[in-house]
């Protein structure tokens, strides 16, 4: 009995220590004397790996989700004779919720897991130790550019997701189902506010970007440097970031739209 309490206490303490270490990693990576000439090329390379290479999955998913939204919205709204509001429905659901959340989930699966595995492998093959021994801080050289690249890429990916999704919705409802184009777009324009919806959506994307990248990078940096440890860390990245994104989405939604 006492043992179980001890185990519980130990696991809580371990978790708290983990959160503390992850805060330390981010703090030491980001707070330092800026070295733009060294950092910028590294950052560009990481934005390419994290952001540009995620474009395909983001665009394809955005397109299909927009198309499904258009189709589902139409079949429901047409019963009430208000199928003209499909544009509004597609845009609001994408901009407020689906674009940031689904992008973050895809981002965690595509870029987050890759980040964890890459940094974990660098640790396992002693590349991080070797950087340290050369006198280069791996937090600054390896971790910092990846963190910044994630912070920057994720909101942009979410915006692209929303745009492609809206276009996909229009494709289905206007081109295929024959809703009048003018009312599709004008309804959307009237109901989507820039500060209330678009900006809040982008804020969500920024927050998710920070959380997912932070989790991914820390899991890689803190993993047990064996093949088993890396695979576990990669799994943890996807699970933790998905849960964090969904929970944070509820909290942010309650804060942003709760007082309607």
């Amino acid at each position: 009995m006492l043992n179980q309490f001890a185990l519980l206490g130990r696991s809580v303490l371990d978790r708290l220590a983990g959160i503390g270490r992850s805060g330390g990693v981010v703090w030491q990576s980001l707070v330092a004397k800026p070295a733009p000439f060294v950092m910028f090329p590294l950052l560009l390379k990481q934005i390419y790996f994290i952001g540009v290479l995620s474009l395909v999955i983001i665009i394809v998913s955005g397109l299909f989700i927009g198309m499904v939204l258009g189709l589902q919205g139409y079949t429901i709204l047409v019963d009430y004779g208000s199928e003209q509001a499909v544009g509004q429905m597609v845009a609001l659901s994408l901009v407020r919720e689906l674009a940031p959340v689904v992008t973050a989930l895809l981002f965690a699966g595509r870029a987050g897991s890759a980040l964890t595995a890459e940094i974990g492998l660098m640790k396992a093959t002693e590349q991080l130790s070797s950087l340290e021994m050369i006198g280069v801080d791996p937090l600054r050289r390896i971790v910092a550019p990846r963190l910044w690249a994630g912070f920057i890429s994720m909101p942009i990916l979410a915006i692209i997701f929303a745009m492609v999704g809206i276009w996909g919705g229009a494709l289905v409802s206007v081109e295929w189902l024959g809703i009048f184009e003018g009312s599709f777009w004008s309804n959307m324009q009237n109901s989507v506010s820039f500060t209330g919806d678009v900006l809040n959506g982008v804020i969500k994307a920024v927050v998710f970007g920070i959380v997912v990248t932070w989790i991914a990078v820390f899991q890689g940096y803190d993993c047990v440097p064996t093949s088993e440890g890396i695979s576990q860390a990669t799994t943890r990245t996807v699970v933790y970031s998905s849960l964090a994104v969904l929970a944070l989405d509820f909290i942010l939604t309650a804060l942003m739209f709760g007082d309607l």
């Binding site: 093959t125 002693e126 130790s129 070797s130 021994m133 006198g135 280069v136 801080d137």
Partner: protein
Amino acid sequence: MSVNNSPESIIDISALSFSRGTRQIFRHVDMKIPRGKITAIMGPSGTGKTTLLKLIGGQLRPDGGHIEIDGLDVHGISRQQLFTLRERMGMLFQSGALFTDMSVYENVAFPIKVHTKLPDDMVRDIVLLKLQAVGLRGARDLMPSELSGGMARRVALARAIALDPDIVMYDEPFTGQDPIAKGVLVKLIRQINEALGHTSIIVSHDIQETMSIADNIFLLSDGEVIASGSPQELLSNQTEQVKQFMQGLPDGPVPFHFSDDDVLEDLYFTEER
């Protein structure tokens, strides 16, 4: 670049204690590593030889005791000073630890570019000379994934000596190498040590290779230095522990059997829990 505070020893380890979890790895270890010589640290697997290198490099923090390099306490200085101190150390990791996203040339050029402001053509000359020293000038455009294990270790050696460090640490340089690669590495370590006049520390349990180049050997076991001296002195040492390790005897102070209860009793009278 070297500072000659004490002429005879460059690294001074005093009362070093270190533990991982509940396992005590070092108990009040004292060691003086002589300047300009090849010192080998030997001992059975799991005695913390690699850990010792990481402690010297400041990557791990001891629980007690001090490590001083030229009078500078490795664990008492700031992070910035530590990174400056590391410019004077080169380390050859067991896996080579080449940066996988850089070519051979870029790997060797990396420490030079980070720590000096030399123009590109001068960096190129240095890199090619270092690669020539390890016999791999022709492999400069290959990626680490295209190298054999022995070649990767030689490139890593070229990178470790790129800044002409005062101390080069070799972590198990011979492990997993074929006889030719072992021979090449032995020759290189000796040659480079003589040519550059730095201090070499080799962590290894390959007795033959290490004995052939070391000036001085520390034998570690169970967290303590159990013997030290020249290769000849260690060979003639009659202590059971030393004899078992040096001659590779299967049974001795390090038992062959993990547990020593009686096998018959275990087979016939003990029930599985």
